[in-house]
């Protein structure tokens, strides 16, 4: 039997301290927390940085290191620093050393690195997953960072070093939770399923904000118990969590196989704890890991203007289309730019900024925002193109015979350089003959 304590859905999200203390008192075998996600977009992987403030990360990680000492068990974080590149593993390692020094504590630390060399990946046979983008070798070598998602095997290799703290680069969300019960010989389907249910902390309970849950794995399944006062798990909240951020609610692919929960039975044990049995782990013939990569799509400058004049609000799309046309002509005239090398868009906020062509309701706004987004091969060009746009956003007339209008600008300067804009490139797997082939472990005593 294996008890894994999950403080919250991600480091940086916060959790209920009393719930965490309640969990520590129950003697977990492991404390596991997720440190990342692709959900905030490609910039974090592209730059190899965390989305959360260092101050939040340090405060919460310190609490978990103290929890680990109190519970006398290992602490593991997967996908450290949002994206799980080598740089974010080292970033969290540095924070860990500061915390240990502040606490006057020592620890054996294992770092599991998941980052891949783009030039090597470009020469590796890859298998596209469903809805993968078209790629060629150049798209791969242009990636600023590529990571492979580690599974239970690599996390288990890190656990086997006897480390007190494991800082893992990119892993699957579930691997950091499933690895220990799998190594202990608990039910494989239960290990992966319990890990999937637990990976978002208390999101699978009636009180998501309470954060902390305990998953107990055994020979035939798992029990899941929220640690927060008043939080309960029900067969509905637990089974419904398979829907979350999952394109298929019954099947979950992982390195080395897939989980099938079609036949799982959920039982309410005592009004607070739910037991699940009947989940099936189906090993695959080939051992594959998924890759994620991001590259620079261009450099952006943005600007905003607001329309309040009813005539312009009513004709905002025509106004924007006309500006795009005039601006393109001016860019060709004054900058001599090939129009295929850059892109300008005016997104009308209050009309269809969220849905674009899918929007099917007529606008009813009193005022509208116009967000100009310029994308170019370098920042200087994007910035210059935005400056050429400025006079139009300020004064462009719908027709020549009307008085020159002026629109509301919220900022001076009106243009905001955004720096590099990144895009996701890979949705592919690669085969490994040994799970550790694409991963590295470093163990230090601190």
């Amino acid at each position: 039997m294996t008890k894994v304590l999950i403080p919250s859905g991600a480091l940086g999200l916060g959790y209920d301290k009393a719930a965490l203390e309640h969990g520590i008192a129950q003697g977990p075998d492991l404390i596991a927390i997720d440190g990342g996600s692709t959900d905030s977009g490609p910039s974090y992987l592209g730059r190899g940085v965390s989305k959360y403030a260092r101050e939040s990360t340090k405060a919460e990680w310190r609490n978990l290191i103290e929890a680990r000492i109190a519970a006398n068990c290992p602490l593991v974080i997967g996908t450290a620093g949002t994206c799980g590149t080598d740089s974010t593993v080292d970033w969290l390692y540095e924070i860990t050393l500061e915390i240990l020094s502040d606490l006057g504590a020592t620890a054996k630390i294992a770092r599991l690195y998941s980052e891949q060399d783009p030039s090597k990946i470009a020469q590796t046979p890859l298998t596209p997953l469903s809805a993968a983008p078209e790629i060629d070798a150049k798209a791969i070598t242009n990636c600023t960072h590529i990571v492979a998602l580690a599974g239970a095997e690599q996390v288990n290799a890190a656990l086997n070093t006897g480390a007190d703290i494991i800082i893992a680069g990119r892993t699957t969300d579930t691997a950091i939770i499933a690895a220990l019960p799998l190594a202990n010989g608990d039910h494989a389907g239960g290990a992966w399923h319990g890990a999937k249910i637990g990976e978002c902390g208390a999101l699978c309970t009636t009180a998501p904000q309470s954060g902390t849950i305990m998953v107990e794995f055994d020979a035939s399944g798992f029990n899941i118990t929220p640690m927060g006062d008043g939080a309960t798990a029900t067969p509905h909240t637990v089974s419904a969590h398979m829907l979350y951020e999952n394109s298929d609610p019954f099947i979950l692919y992982e390195p080395g196989g897939h989980l099938d929960v079609t036949a799982t039975r959920y039982t309410d044990l005592d009004g607070k704890t739910v037991r699940a049995e009947g989940s099936v782990w189906v090993p695959s013939e080939r051992y594959t890991v998924k890759l994620e990569g991001a590259r620079i799509a261009g450099y952006q400058t943005i600007a905003m203007a607001f329309l309040r004049d009813a005539h312009y609000v009513a004709n905002a799309q025509d106004w924007c289309d006309d500006i795009i046309k005039h601006h393109a002509a001016k860019a060709a005239d004054r900058m001599g730019l090939d129009p295929r090398t850059w892109h300008a868009e005016l997104r009308i906020i209050g009309q269809h900024a969220v849905l674009g062509d899918l929007e099917n309701r007529p606008p009813t706004a009193t005022e509208l925002g116009v967000l100009a987004i310029i994308t170019a091969p370098d920042q200087q060009t994007a910035s210059t193109l935005a400056k050429l746009m400025n006079p139009y956003l300020l004064h462009h007339q719908l027709t020549r015979d009307e008085e020159m209008p002026t629109f509301a600008f919220p900022f001076s300067p009106a243009e905001i350089d955004r720096g590099a804009a990144y895009e996701f490139v890979l949705h592919h797997t690669m085969e490994l003959s040994d799970p550790m082939d694409a991963f590295r472990l470093e163990v230090t005593d601190a």
Partner: protein, 100 residues
Amino acid sequence: MPNLSQIVQKIRSKNAGPFWLTIDIFCGTPEAYEKTVDGLSTQRVAALFKTDAATVKRFDIADLNVVKFSMPRPTIQGSRDDRDMHGAGWAPLLAELEIN
């Protein structure tokens, strides 16, 4: 004619990774679930999102009173033309759909 949000408890859209979008309709009761299953064809959902019905995965889950749709994202998450980083904005479109 009621729209879907007047029949069901909650509709949520989210990314399922950067390349897929998933929409969960929590109907709340078996009656609402039946109405949703009967009144909402995969073709209508595909047309609403201007995508090919063959690419839409549908799950009618009676045990949970949930209907779930997953489809490739119309634009890759965070790419130049993407307007909604977390995929949250597709749910209201479905919520406003009239159901027979």
